[in-house]
Symmetry: D3
Subunit: 209 residues, 6 copies
């Protein structure tokens, strides 16, 4: 079901409910050839560092091992490009538990291998540096922010080439219902315009753009 919705129409539904800031205004690109990702947020909060980490990888390993079906790993690193904080091995482990993809507000590496796995990964970009002693996870399973937008554990998230949008739990049912209605209304409008109706007339008639 969810895969017939798409990020923009979900965002419009949230707008209509007064939730007007549910998509980060930073570029989170699909880097692995998979262009649609839907699921529920599992979160990691990352911090930069420059000293020797006494417990390298500790919390990210725990996080990937805890993944459950339908999880989308949300790695909040404040946009830091200091190292590649997500890659092939974490993807493999996360997928074992059912994780469907990752959204990384930072850099990743092993993009070619993740592409070969068919693992969805939306990120700011890439870095070939290992994260060890450069960045580490300081909290998991807490609410995080990307560009001021809150991603809480369990929130429904949609990502595609237009962007990323997160649906707060308390309005999820209503938002999804409205999104479906908007999909239908857009289809009607588009079909009318495609059939030659002027855009001004179509908007006046259907009230949707």
């Amino acid at each position: 079901m969810r895969h017939e919705l798409y990020s923009a129409v979900v965002c419009d539904a949230l707008d209509a409910l007064g939730f007007t800031r549910q998509s980060p205004r930073v570029e989170l690109r699909a880097l692995t050839g998979v262009h649609v990702l839907v699921g529920r947020c599992r979160t990691m909060l990352w911090a930069d560092m420059a000293h020797v980490d006494p417990e390298p990888y500790a919390l990210e390993l725990a996080a990937v091992d805890a993944c459950r079906p339908d999880d989308v790993m949300v790695a909040a690193a404040g946009g830091s490009m200091r190292s590649g904080i997500w890659g092939e091995l974490l993807s493999t482990a996360a997928r074992n538990g059912g994780c469907t993809g990752a959204i990384v507000d930072g850099a990743v590496r092993d993009t070619a291998k993740m592409a070969a796995m068919g693992f969805a990964c939306f990120a700011r970009g890439t870095s070939i540096y290992d994260s060890q002693n450069r960045q580490r996870v300081v909290d998991i399973d807490v609410a995080v922010e990307i560009d001021g937008v809150r991603f809480a554990p369990g929130d429904l998230v949609f990502a595609d080439d237009d962007g990323v949008v997160v649906v707060p739990r308390e309005i999820e049912a209503e938002a999804i219902a409205r999104a479906w209605a908007k999909v239908h209304a857009e289809n009607v409008t588009r079909d009318a315009i495609r059939a030659g109706m002027k855009a001004v007339a179509a908007y006046r008639k259907y009230g949707v753009l």
Copy 2:
């Protein structure tokens, strides 16, 4: 004819005529799988806003309904990424009139659908936010600027993966003629180098790089 020219050689021709600032130095990426766009500018000037728009979409609907064959819609939004100001429905309406593509100094959405339509769209990037109450068109059919480069209604514009270049009306004929000549000269030079001539020798002989 125009499709055998390409942006870089047109830009070189403009250089030779003393018009050395005809390409914006901002990244306007081909987001819909169509990598070449040529036509004449039809312009929209966008402004950010944060209050309730009393007439949502008014001028952009008028603009798309007015499109004529060979038009390229140039949406000047000063690089604002506040919302997706161009998308599937506007593309559909614009194409009804003959519009061949859009150049957007801002964000667009519905990229997958525009790609399915085969509609050329060069833009700064994407945003899933609806433009309503976020941005609006404040003028149409006026000269606009992208990164300090002037795009006047009716000017010939070329866009491809190397960039975007606009040809002022008053020198269009001469610029196109020179561009054709440059294409020929580059072919000769390239063929000579490909055949093994040293680059220094080729440049000395043909004077083209």
Copy 3:
């Protein structure tokens, strides 16, 4: 041989040897459809200019004509996007001598033609402006920096979609040996995780991530 290594594992090997800053943290994208490049650095240092160049293209022509098998042309332009400093003709000439690709810390043009040639080109982006009277080469065959990382003539360089990494001559043999070992260890770890081992257990057992 080299093509079985990849940038990230080489970077990890350099980390292990205490060379922790061998990859520029700037985005150098594969712009021509070739996603892997390995070879030895041949360098050009570029500078912006705005006056009439008395000797246009002089040093870059000399540089491409001097290319030898296995060369990777490294064009250090400080990230300037002022013009397209590398393109089809230089690629053709460089390839005549055996050059396998270019890494450009600046803008290039003719990307479609270089793609047709199968010439690898990693760069910051594109510009359709000719370099003449906009940028020029001021030195060749000297050590250059990209984002503070030193590229000396003859250094081994790897580039792929994860990034670019350069191996200083004095530790090349040891770095390559370690990279091979790391490839093997990663394979073992990945296979174990793929077979269902928890990531925490795999890291405890194999010590590699």
Copy 4:
């Protein structure tokens, strides 16, 4: 009264009430030697332009002529540095009506003359370009945003060297009351620390930092 409050403590009071995004995270510097500004928002929304303005300066002249005592002119230009949109003459006219200063999310000019007038002006920076045919006011007396923070007409606003904070009308009384209480609590804490109490102990005792 208001001048004994300051932006940071007002922001803390708003935090305590759940209004955690009331200060733009852009640098709005005091450019005229006046470092504190308090008043109620009067708003102008600016847009970039590049064609000949048929009615230059029309709305900004209307806006300054409409100023009333205690007004702070808030010029929302989306951070555009295209021209100096506020200067000596507008300041003079605005002050005639009682305007106490300006907050400009864009560029200003005549800083030396505004300093000589003692007119408070917080802005992104300066530009010597006249705004005519470069930027114009497209709306006045509407809610505007600076960096995603809403400034509605009549809202109380504080600006000083720490930043700018705006108090939504509906919680103004409560926010101001809390800010006063926080001022007192901070004074007690600071005096205790100044007298030699450890910070850990002071925070444990007074609960304020």
Copy 5:
């Protein structure tokens, strides 16, 4: 005489003559406590480097030794912050010849000592790094650009806290004459507004803002 003019009014005069891009839109701050600088351009073009300079400081020493009365040293470094390219010793030498100040599109150092000398220095910012082996002058006495604005040797330049503006030689006399007229008209308008005239009325009457 020149010191009674100021950058903004000169820029307005240039606007009126159709020279609408004579001020760089980059922040060139007065870093040494001297806030007004007027004179004729003497130019240096700088380039970044990372190898050992065989002739350190060669061209900049020649340039400062060549300074003549009324010169303003314009150091075009493309905004590079790689090192402090101007400082106390160069200022001292330049002043020996009559140089009145420097405009540096890059970083400087020794700001406290230049302030003690009363030497005007407008720059992007500071760097404590010596320029040796980091940047060098590659040309002197050529036309240079700062943010796309051309500064030719001998051009009249004005700098103050509002910005920097350069007057092309061929229109210098006319621009200065118009600037004087504009100063007068602004004074009349300001005095009228200060005396209580509404801004709308003043602009209608005097046509100046």
Copy 6:
């Protein structure tokens, strides 16, 4: 003694010893009217956060209470402007222990009050937001980096209007000795130039610039 040295000459001494990256290339401005700061690094590593902090302020309070004479607090926050992480109360507590100032790679608040205290504070800028639930200290007394430059606990650090430079322990004695020698050589050169010697001649004679 140390106050007669200054950042630039220390940096030159480090250059001569082969330590060429000891100054961050980010703007760390003196925000409190104190323009020189010298001491030994005491470090805090900060991370952004968006959830409720179970132990607000815990580590920063511990850090300020631990301050000793000659300490300079180095707050490494990766340039985050999310909140004001240093202010009047922390300054007061830190000064109790002998701390002479703070270098903050992030935002601070209470600048006016720190200025009244005469407490040196170099920072990226200001934010009026409280750090609680926005940023927290995740480590103290570890090596940190600002813009890739390492600041280890106990390292000698100099800050002034030209920039910030840190001296690694292992070469401190030699660096300081060389800096003194450089001060002397610069004085001789400057006096010679001031007395009218050409810069070219002075550099040839004294070898210092």
